[in-house]
Symmetry: C2
Subunit: 330 residues, 2 copies
Amino acid sequence: MKGQTIFFKNRPKIVAVSTVAGTKECKGIVGRYVETALQDDMFGESTYEKAECKMLSHVIDGAITNAGLKRDEVDMLVSGDLLNQIISASFAARDFSVPFLGVYGACSTMAESLAVAATFIDGGYARRVVAATGSHFASAERQYRYPLELGCTRPPQSQWTVTGAGAALLASEGDGITVSAATLGKVVDYGITDVNNMGAAMAPAAADTILTHFRLTREDPSDYDMIVTGDLGALGSRILKDLTWEKGLDIGVNHVDCGEIIYNVIEDEFQGGSGAGCSAVVLNSYLYSKMMTGGLKKILFVATGALLSTVSSGQGESIPCIAHAVVLER
Amino acid sequence: MKGQTIFFKNRPKIVAVSTVAGTKECKGIVGRYVETALQDDMFGESTYEKAECKMLSHVIDGAITNAGLKRDEVDMLVSGDLLNQIISASFAARDFSVPFLGVYGACSTMAESLAVAATFIDGGYARRVVAATGSHFASAERQYRYPLELGCTRPPQSQWTVTGAGAALLASEGDGITVSAATLGKVVDYGITDVNNMGAAMAPAAADTILTHFRLTREDPSDYDMIVTGDLGALGSRILKDLTWEKGLDIGVNHVDCGEIIYNVIEDEFQGGSGAGCSAVVLNSYLYSKMMTGGLKKILFVATGALLSTVSSGQGESIPCIAHAVVLER
């Protein structure tokens, strides 16, 4: 570790992925790339939470199968999600008889779990690790905002939690996408208290991690084909570009935000997608495909998370945020 | 990693600790050993959740100070807690400008964070990492059961969530307690649905991890001075001893449960203490002291966690549990 950045000398690789996405999500850019396109966002379950858990279990199983492995050949599962007590991940882990590390980084979970998985493999502590996360629009609305049945109006600065899940199987050997470095984020809080404006809350955390990453690696945005943030949305992405530009770093040319691109512009989503499933689905379907066959060589994947709860907001607290970055190379 | 067990060749060490505990806790065995004994369980804050967060922040700061370090000399903080969205850990992390990995393992968090911290140090990815967790009786009751103000009667199989927090500073160099191995647990669910009977729910997970640990390390309980579980309580401890004995492993002689010993027997606590703070306080005060100066040479520290939520229980789910084990040697 040099400052906040870990360089993986043994080059752990993502050798297989799996994704599932909801009906609304599949109308957008990821529709052609996801492995399982849901016809029904309940996924045959009786509750939103059970549907979310089933999606996560489904992609973990999918990644293992796509790698040509059996469940008992996996050394570890690193996973978390947005629900209280990360029940989607915990209950999904129950289906697999595999050592489980539960993590919580809100919507930064895909990057956090990739970084932890890569560290365990790079250090020789594990050979094959699944990193996975997901989210569900209806369970997130019920827990963080209002149950859908209330029919509340959503404000224009809000984002739409993605219904979907993604898993990546990392291994010490095999063909795939190399995880060559990771920059672990610090908690950053600019004092935003509007729980509907996650993009504005998370942008400073993304800026902090990105600036730190380029300072420590002595790289330049032009060294990357793409700098991909998780779910800042349209407004958050603009704030991020301003914040980095102010510090002398211009990421405007090759910055893309998963939340900004996941939906075709329809009025409901306002600033775009969000949720742990947002960057998990875009990375493990669209971006994975573009890296494996589409000529995309090197990306900086920066997933961002807002670490608030309804209790902290209710007690007048602002929103602490975090962003973890992972360098992916083909 | 051999199966579920990691052996740390570079022998990362716990070089400093810090603990804080509530008024009720300090009347018991840990009273003489905790660094900060609270006179008031609110710790000068206006809400239970803010008090819990302040405790966690207090011990993280304490461990760094006790190690003779400054905050910017710490490479990473690994922490989690019982509150939704682990707000105690996330908000405590905001006070420290240090890379943060949020983890969730319910009451197994002390062992999970120790295992992750030790892995990052052993692999050379970090030199100094703080592992910390805590809990607060009143915030846990409000979130998982009923607000204290309702005055609900507690059933006899229940445990009392510990008000307290503990932090350990792990380093690649220095004098202290060596973390020599860790066995990462799988999620185990025996179908218990009684949310007041955590001991019975968690005992099978503890048994699974302990049996696996002794099978993979080819060690015997007599190789340890003590086998310490986190917060099974009196009933859960009896179930654990039965489950391991059935499989031919007798841990009866040197098994101790933090939940069982933390309180003097008073009627209110029924089966004893619980909560992430329970094993965190006992390990980082009483056990740390006994290892440093009291002749205790080698212990197996097995913290257990119940991965339920009020939503999962409300939807009729049983309680999946996990236990992570860490070998500590002086």
